[in-house]
Structure formats: C-alpha cells, structure tokens
Symmetry: C2
Subunit: 450 residues, 2 copies
C-alpha cells in the first residue's frame, strides 16, 4: 500500500464534544422544561482523598476552554445522529458560555472540600462544562501537588522533571512540566515545555550514548569534549562505581585544560550507598564541585529517605511518579450542583455527601490551617480565597507562570512543619465549617429526608 489511511473523523477547533454524553442528555431535558434559571456548581476535592493539601492549578486552562467550548457543524451533525432534537441542536449551535466563574488563585494551597472553582450560570450552561472543567483542573493540580511534596522532601536540593516519556500523551507531558514548575520549581527535560514557558531545561545523555561507543571511557571523553558546559555523565551503564572512576579518568585531560566535570548521574541501584561512594571517589580526585544527580524510580518518599540519611545527592530527576502522580493518578475531584434557582441543594450519599450553597473560603493566616469554609456571603474574618475570574465571556485574570510559582512556594513554606514531609498526616485536614454553612446544611438535610 502507498498511503497511510486514517480511520475516524478529524479533530476540529471546537471543544464542545469533550464532554460526557449525560451532560448533553440532561441539557436536552433542561431545555425542554425551561429549566434555565441560574445554577451554581462547585468544583472541589472530596474529603476522603488521600493528600493533606493540594496546590490548585488549571483555572487558567478552564478560562482558555471557555473560548473554544463551542459546537460547530461537525459536532452538530454528529449529535443529530445520536437522536437529539432540532431545538436542542439549535441551542447548542449558538452556544456561548455565559454567567460567571469564581476561583481561588492558581497556585493556591487548598484543603479538600474547599472549592477551587465555582461556576454560576444558567443550569444547562453550567452543566455542560462539568466534565471538561474537572479534567482541566485535576491534572495540573495533581502534578503541582506531587511536585510540591517532592520539593519539600528535597529540602532545597534541585529537582528536574524527567517524566515526559511516561506522561499520558505528549501534550500532557508539557502540561506536567508547567505544573511541576509551579508546585516545586522543577527544571524539565521536556524541550517543548522549555520553549513554551521558558522553564529551564536540563539533560545530557542516556545509556544508548555510552553503548554506541565500544568503550565507556571513550564515550565519557567524547561527550565532555563536545559539551564542556553540560558534562554530566551517566555512570551506571555497566558498573556504577567503575563508571565514576572512568568518568574521572576520562575527563582528566580535559580538566587539565580548565574544563570541569559538571556531574555524574546515578540511575539505578542503592542510590544512598552509591552516592556516598561516588562522592568519596570524586573528592579524592579533587572534584569537590562535581555534582551528583540521582534518578530512577524516585518520588517524595524515596527522596525523603535519601535526604534523611544525608545521601550526598545534589539534584533529583523525577520521572513517572511526577507526571502520572503515580500513587494517586486520579484525584477525587468533583463538580457538584450546590444551588439551583436560589435554592441550595446537596447530596447525601454517605462519604460522597456534599455541602449546599455557593461558598467562600476564609483564610486567616499564611497557610490553610485555620481556614473557614462558609456560604458565599458569610461574614467571617480572613482573606476571601475565591474571587471572580471570568464573567460573560470576559476573563478577569491573566496567568503568569513565575508569579504563580512564587505564590505557591510562599504558601508551601508557611505550611506547618508536620504537614510538609513524610510521614504525612493520617487524616486529611478539613476547613472548619462556618456557622452559616452549618445551619444551611442542617436545613437542606432535613428537607431531603422529610
């Protein structure tokens, strides 16, 4: 055959079908019944979720989505094949998001149950956005949180995202690099992320480089000669400690001409023990300023162990654990109706229960320790975390990567020490409920079980 025939329809520039079918079926029913009064949906992480705190991120992605969440001819034609009627199809063809979006700042440290986003809009509009809103906030939040945990465990040692290859898609890899920069100040191996965001990029060699030479020493010498400013050599292709010695030997001549051996990278084995042996070999050769970089199966727990045992590691490269948030690849993040047509509503399904009404988070200090969660217009003290970010087609907030990172870092530094590092708190802390919200919840619960 001569061509590469692709099955399936092409992508379009409208994002409206990135949703679950049930959203459209509900919208169809709402429209048939004229149920278009304002509704508020609250996007938050459920209390049973496994992390004590989260770095909220992705609100800017939601604002971008509002520009492309439309239904063009291809989308409408497909929905017609599913049996939707012409009135609903016409409404969708003319769809533009309306209403308003409130959100915490990107980079805010939040607790479970605290709204990250609240959307108030005509019921069908707010309903339609559910699936994509969750999707776009959950992944950056998961990775920024994972990155923050790693950074706090690393206690000042440098960190790099090595996880593009195991991210769930190429674009997802770039998103991960952005989120890791926000949550933990990570550099990245991801060149596209570096181009887009001006995140520092890092990386020198893989095992294949060593193997392409017949001798490890030749490979080390060649690479250091070709990249005098980036001479971090990967030493574990055959035998890690021999590799360190060979790296020292192979670069001796270059060093005699004023070059440095920037670093050695350990990618397998007992990183604590190997780093100590490597440090000694390097120091014995007078290479006190040659850095040791560790990678291979690292996460916040492993980093914490290595730091606790004072392993002489200067920087960590983190791959799969970071870009897949491997121990919790899915946050239990939801988007729940809390008010419709002025009526506060809730759901009472055991641990999946929700709290009624539009909300506000009141923060009294630099960290979430004493947060109060209450109704939107409650009269509590503290900074109000939720603010309007979009109204009737107009974004009210711009996204600045470095400002977002700085905001995240200042809050993470302020966290109570026992919240920062393993062992993490057993029970996720929750905000205290304000009296107005307590009262409202009792009223709604009583009504539901009447």
């Amino acid at each position: 055959m001569t061509g590469h025939r692709r099955e399936g329809s092409a992508r379009t520039d409208r994002a409206g079908l990135h949703t679950d079918l049930y959203e459209l079926r509900m919208v169809d029913s709402y429209l048939q019944r004229g149920m278009t009064a304002p509704a508020t949906f609250s996007l938050f992480i459920r209390p049973a979720a496994a992390r004590p705190w989260y770095v909220a991120l992705g609100v800017h992605r939601l604002l971008e989505l509002l520009e492309t969440f439309r239904f063009g001819p291809a989308e409408i034609a497909y929905l017609r094949t599913l049996g939707f009627g012409e009135p609903t199809l016409s409404w969708l063809a003319a769809f533009e998001p309306s209403g308003e979006v409130w959100a915490v700042p990107d980079g805010a440290v939040v607790l479970a149950q605290e709204p990250i986003v609240e959307i108030t809009a005509p019921l069908p509009v707010a309903q339609l956005l559910e699936t994509a809103a969750i999707n776009l906030v959950q992944y950056p939040t998961a990775v920024a949180t994972k990155a923050a945990r790693c950074a706090l465990a690393a206690q000042g040692r440098r960190l790099a995202d090595f996880g593009l290859r195991r991210a769930h898609g190429l674009e997802t890899g770039a998103e991960a690099a952005m989120a890791a920069f926000v949550g933990g100040g990570f550099a990245t191996s991801n060149v596209e992320a570096g181009r887009r965001w001006k995140i520092p990029v890092t990386g020198t060699m893989a095992h294949s480089y060593i193997q392409a030479f017949t001798d490890e020493r030749d490979a080390f010498h060649a690479f250091a000669a070709d990249h005098p400013d980036h001479s971090t050599l990967l030493v574990d292709t055959y035998d890690t400690i021999k590799g360190v010695s060979r790296a020292v030997d192979a670069t001796a001549q270059l060093r005699a001409h004023g070059q440095r051996l920037r670093g050695v990278r350990l990618d397998s084995g007992d990183l604590g023990e190997l780093s100590r042996q490597a440090r000694k070999l390097l120091n014995d050769a007078g290479l006190d300023d040659t850095q040791i970089i560790a990678s291979g199966g690292l996460d916040e727990y492993r980093i914490h162990e290595l730091v606790a045992q004072a392993a002489p590691i200067d920087a960590f490269g983190i791959g799969s654990a970071l870009t897949t948030s491997s121990d919790h690849p899915a946050l239990d993040i939801v988007y729940k109706l809390v008010a419709y047509d002025q009526r506060p509503v809730a759901k009472f399904s055991g641990i999946k229960s929700t709290l009624p009404g539009r909300k506000q988070v009141f923060r009294t200090g630099d960290d979430p320790t004493d947060d109060v969660l209450s109704v939107h217009d409650a009269d509590e003290t503290g900074q109000r975390l939720l603010a309007p970010v979009w109204r009737d087609g107009k974004p009210l907030r711009a996204f600045h990567l470095t400002q977002t990172r700085d905001h995240a870092v200042s809050q993470l530094d302020a966290l109570p020490t026992d919240w920062q590092r393993p062992p993490y708190l057993d029970d996720p802390p929750l905000p205290r409920l304000g009296t107005d919200l307590e009262w409202l919840n009792q009223q709604v619960r009583r009504a539901a079980f009447e």
Copy 2:
C-alpha cells in the same frame, strides 16, 4: 483588565521538541563525530513490570508522529538559545525521519521483554525519536491492557468508559476511549471519542439532574418522559433503595403507555448487596428487563468480586481506574539501543539489563504462552510477530479500529484461563529465549566485562 493575556509561546505544528533535551545533546555529539551508522532501538516493557501480559497499542500513533516530527523556525530559534551550534541546527531544520520501523500488530497480546517496536535508522535519527515513541505507545497500551483485564473479569457483561473527567487531559480522554474499545470493547461516555471513532456512546444523568428538581420522583418522571429510549435513572442521590422504588413508581404511568424503564444506575455503597435488593424490587414490579448498571470506584478486581458473588449487574461503568490505569499509571516501558553499526550492544545494570541485537518474536500458538524471543533472523518456528510498518517516509500499515479490537479479543479469549482473571500470575511470564539470542547475549556480556 479587558483581555486574557497568555504567557508562553504558542503551539506549532511541528512535534520535534516533544523530546527530552538529552536526546538533542546526544544527537549533537553524534553529528560532530560522524556517528551516523545504522542503529536499532528496541521498545519493550521491562520484565519486572507488574502485569502478566499487555495489549500492545499505539504503533499507529508513532506512524502519525513520523509525519509531524520536524523542527520549524520556532523550534530552531529556541534551540539556538540553548547553545546548539549551526551545523546541528541545520541538520535539525532539514530533519526527516528515515530508516525503518518494525512492529507487532496494534492489538497484539505481548509479554514483557518482547519488542513492540524496533526502529532501525541512522543513530541520530533513531535516538531523536526515543521519548516520543515511548510516550505514544505506553499510554494506549496501558489503557488497552487495563480494559482487557476488566473485560475478562466482567465475563460478558457490558462495559463503558466513564473516565474522561479524570484522564490526564482532554485529548488523553479521547485516546483512552479508543484504547478501551480495542482492549475491552468498551462503550464510552466521551462524545468526542464517539464522533471520531464511531465508538458507541452512553450516558443519561448525573446527581445534579436529580438535585435540580425539588423531588427525586419528579426528576425521574421528567427524564424518562424526555428520553424514552434512554431511561436509565441514577438512584443513589439520597437513598439507593428508596431511589429504586421511586424510579419504579415515577415511571409507572409512562410504562402504562408502553415505555420501558431501561435501567437503574447504582453509583455508591455496597454494589453487590444493593444490586440484589434492586433486582428484587424491579422483578417484584414486573420489570425483569430493567437493567442494573453499576459504577463508582470500579476496576478489574472489584468487577471480579462482584461477578464471583453473582451480583445481578448487567453493565459496569469504569472511570478513573481505566483512564489513568490507576494501579499502574506508568508501564515500565523503555527504548533501548540494541545494535549500532552492525555491533549488538546491551546494558548490564541488574534488573535494568537488556538483551542485545535486533529481535523477532516467534509465536507458535494463538496466545503468548510458548513465545520464543530470538534474534531478528533466527530460524525458529512460529509466526513472526514483528513486521515492517514504515520505511523511508512511507507507512506500510493502516489502522482500523474494529479490526484491531477483533484481533485483540481473539487473542485474549485464547489466553490460558489462569492468565485471564484475578488472582493474576505472581511472576510475569517471559518468552523463552532462542538459542541464537542466548549465545549472542553471552558474547556481548563477556565483552562488556572484559
């Protein structure tokens, strides 16, 4: 402010920078040294990985990438800021993939250590493709495998992908739906995936629909009236068993006019016990053909338990566990140099060791039980799984979704029974090594440790 200022550079239509920086640094060095002889890289899942078998998928994505993996002016300008020299930048600006790609069929059931893809090309070309090749194969393979495990556990019950909201990106959700259809014949809630691939779409209502009404019965009646062909009602907003009774009551009048109550969906609680109670209530009302759909925290293990206890569940909706492959969100999939310039190479780093040389997988039956892994031109019996799929810019294989699914299903059905369902095999089975490969491995190992 009036506009939504975006930070960062825009996307381009060239994919070349979706790579790790170290690939480019190695390429730079290879080019400086004229190391452009043919190299073979082998993409496979490491033996220590946690699943006994995998449904390989994503080769078609790799072939698509080869059409867009280029470096345009924006990419070159950025790389210049990183310090790459003009000869390398010129080479990249003119870059077009060359060489050849061999691969197993998309949808093939494979074991760890069996190459899914082998790329043979000039060393810098094959090296550059590493990161993206791993990325594009790993995610579809992870999800197709997870889906296959769920489908085998479900023993014929219907399955649907509900996981778009927790997938790592919107496009990733569509990719997951495609992979779940291949591996397990899943329907999907993802409307865009339905449009692109003609995968059956499914979905009716969320809790918000119930809550938007003041009474659950009213909500049930309204939805069933508006969607007579899709009247599957979500019954756990307040109390699951009361919800079932209310669904029966609320639709009585409609049923009197010939409509059916298609189903009830249970989304929380003890799904085994609740399904038995719901079945009884439905049967007592004469609704023997009303189906019970279960969702909420399901995966292959939970499905297996429910099926083993004969829970009367007709269909399962699977969310996060499917689209994040939650227990193993990252497969230990690698892309390793196995030959350069006619010389077979390997890496001997303990469990990260690799086998040298271009390879072939020989399959003697319908399933991988007796697979033999040997060198590319070995004279073993059996079907050769790896075949050329791309050569010098020309794809040699088209992707057909339903054929790929059919191919996967026939192999999964042929798997030994104790490979199909929990408890899965403790140690992942590995292919037997052919005598030619055994010999080659000994030779290369001896040379490495001389």
